[in-house]
């Protein structure tokens, strides 16, 4: 079936909404034909992963839209850029090297995008609701919106997310529709004790395993202990979208489209079943660390994806209790909206003595921020641990948040319990 456009789609294509919307619609229709969509549908918001500079073409594309008077047609949030605009002194790049990256972030604002600069738009006032149709970029945000909220987006990215925002339309295909959202592959946790606790490590390990084994099938996870909050689901999704291309997972009894296992599969049998044992979890976590326990640490990196308010509430008592001192910096990436709430409540002043470095608008694995790159960095993020050795060339130790803070105090990798 060829792509059918509505009269208003044709009007945008013909320039009745301005040159920028016509340009965006031209690219969107070509993309939609290539994925085999038969129509476009309305979206209620977009999240743009275009603020990271991949070369001159990144900037030229946005400047073309700005120059032709373009404005986004739906509420549109922005993902991280390469610069912390609130704490620019943290970025270890020369001013000339920062210029195009800074302009790229600013140019997106000129299109009417919200200067959110966060990879966790679901933590902001733009958080979508169940069933909303979206065009989101950024892999962790996509998997969170689909899985944890039950909103609907495909894995959009470069150029096309912005074309959706400029037209308010997306191809009616894939995860926007009902049937492609049903589970296809079962991951069954087996052999775990009934007292299994929902820890950072467990959720990250399950995410990594599901990501690397799902391929292009929709995974359903059965047997997870209920998480105390959505941060562990964020961590699981981010890990699954790092080790693989997962855009949607279901967790039976936990996520909104998986009240029951049968429901998650739409009544069909799983196409494949994979059992996950405690040994699989241990192996996945051991592989995530590139150094043995006891290795000296030079930094702690938290907040990939951006630290939520709830995660701050978990961290602050740990800092008070463990009082790690000034030797090892603790970097925390967080959204600028979350930071301004913390500052308004004056919650961070008491931690000035702990070498706490708050990073907004970007992330410590994307841009040169760390003071020392010669040692081991400890993190409770599966995503950070997955990408940082390749991006930054650092050694990584993965641990639960409690272990990260304890290691900052000890100066080397310590664990409350072995994997």
């Amino acid at each position: 079936m060829p792509l059918r456009l509505t009269p208003s789609d044709h009007a945008l294509l013909n320039g009745e909404g301005g040159a920028a919307a016509a340009f965006a619609m031209q690219i969107l229709t070509a993309f939609s034909r290539a994925v085999g969509a038969e129509a476009l549908l309305d979206i209620s918001q977009a999240h743009i992963d275009g603020c990271l500079y991949h070369g001159q073409v990144s900037l030229d594309f946005v400047e073309r839209l700005v120059a032709s008077g373009g404005r986004v047609r739906v509420p549109t949030t922005l993902n991280v850029g390469a610069i912390d605009l609130i704490h620019p002194e943290l970025i270890r790049l020369s001013s000339p090297a920062q210029e195009p990256a800074r302009r790229l972030m600013k140019a997106h604002e000129e299109l009417g995008c919200e200067p959110s600069f966060t990879c966790a738009p679901y933590q902001t006032r733009f958080r979508p609701s169940f069933g909303d149709q979206l065009a989101w970029g950024e892999s962790n945000a996509i998997v969170f919106a689909n899985s944890v909220i039950g909103a609907r987006t495909n894995r959009y990215g470069d150029f096309i997310d912005l074309c959706c925002a400029m037209t308010g339309r997306a191809p009616a295909w894939g995860l926007h529709l009902d049937a492609p959202r049903l589970g296809q592959m079962l991951f069954q946790l087996t052999g775990f004790p009934a007292s299994l606790e929902p820890t950072d490590g467990l959720y990250v390990a399950i995410g990594l395993l599901v990501g690397s084994l799902s391929g292009d099938r929709i995974p359903v996870i059965d047997g997870l202990p209920a998480p105390p909050n959505e941060d562990l689901l964020k961590a699981l999704g981010a890990a699954a979208a790092s080790s693989g291309a997962v855009g949607l997972f279901h967790a039976v009894g936990i996520t909104p489209e998986a009240a029951t296992r049968r429901g998650a599969f739409g009544g069909r049998a799983p196409e494949a079943t994979i059992t996950i044992t405690p040994a699989d979890v241990t192996r996945a976590l051991q592989q995530l660390s590139t150094v043995p326990d006891g290795s000296p640490v030079t930094a702690i990196c938290l907040g990939t994806p951006h630290f939520s308010r709830n995660e701050w509430n978990r961290l602050m008592p740990l800092l008070r209790q463990v009082a790690p001192g000034r030797a090892i910096p603790i970097y925390v990436n967080t959204g600028r909206a979350t930071l301004s709430d913390l500052e308004r409540e004056e919650l961070l002043t008491e931690f000035r003595g702990h070498n706490l470095v708050v990073v907004t608008d970007t992330c410590t694995y994307l841009t040169p921020i760390l003071e020392r790159m010669d040692g081991t960095v400890m993190t409770n993020s599966g995503k950070w641990a997955h990408y940082a050795p390749g991006n930054l060339g650092v050694q990584v130790a993965f641990g639960d948040l409690e272990d990260c803070v304890a290691s900052a105090a000890a100066g080397h990798v310590v664990r409350g319990r072995p994997w």
Binding site: A30, F31, D49
Partner: protein, 140 residues
């Protein structure tokens, strides 16, 4: 040999075919400064794609590949055309963006790629909206 094809990004191109054994992601897979395949897990690691008509089973990988592909066209280090066995939205968008911004055409077409052989002369031609032809030298 003439093969009927569907055109996803229009244009005309000619050059020597480079047939890849596996799909290639431009992001993390191609160095835009040198035009070489740098993905260590790819069977064609080290091959130069600059100026070639790239033939592969499909696209692969991160959506950032759109930017890297478009950037390679802008720098002149990319292929002159791409022939795929199945459509790929990420490469289609990259070609369209380069065409719109720089008036540089790198056609992306889809057809049967059996019979296309590395090193043989290939020509791609868009004949009508969405329709293309691929001519391949039979090598005699």
């Amino acid at each position: 040999m003439v093969i009927a094809a569907q055109s996803y990004a229009a244009g005309d191109a000619e050059g020597l075919a480079l047939v890849l054994a596996a799909p290639l992601s431009f992001w993390g897979g191609v160095d835009v400064e040198t035009g070489r395949v740098i993905d260590h897990s790819h069977p064609d690691l080290g091959q130069l794609i600059t100026g070639r008509v790239l033939v592969m089973p499909g696209g692969r990988g991160s959506s950032s590949a759109s930017s890297v592909f478009a950037e390679s066209i802008r720098r002149g280090t990319g292929p002159v055309g791409i022939i795929l066995a199945i459509p790929d939205p990420i490469l289609t968008v990259g070609a369209l963006v380069a065409q719109s911004l720089y008036a540089l055409r790198c056609p992306v077409v889809v057809c049967s790629i059996e019979g296309l052989i590395t090193g043989r002369y290939v020509r791609v031609r868009t004949t009508a909206d969405g329709v293309a032809e691929v001519f391949s030298d039979d090598g005699d």
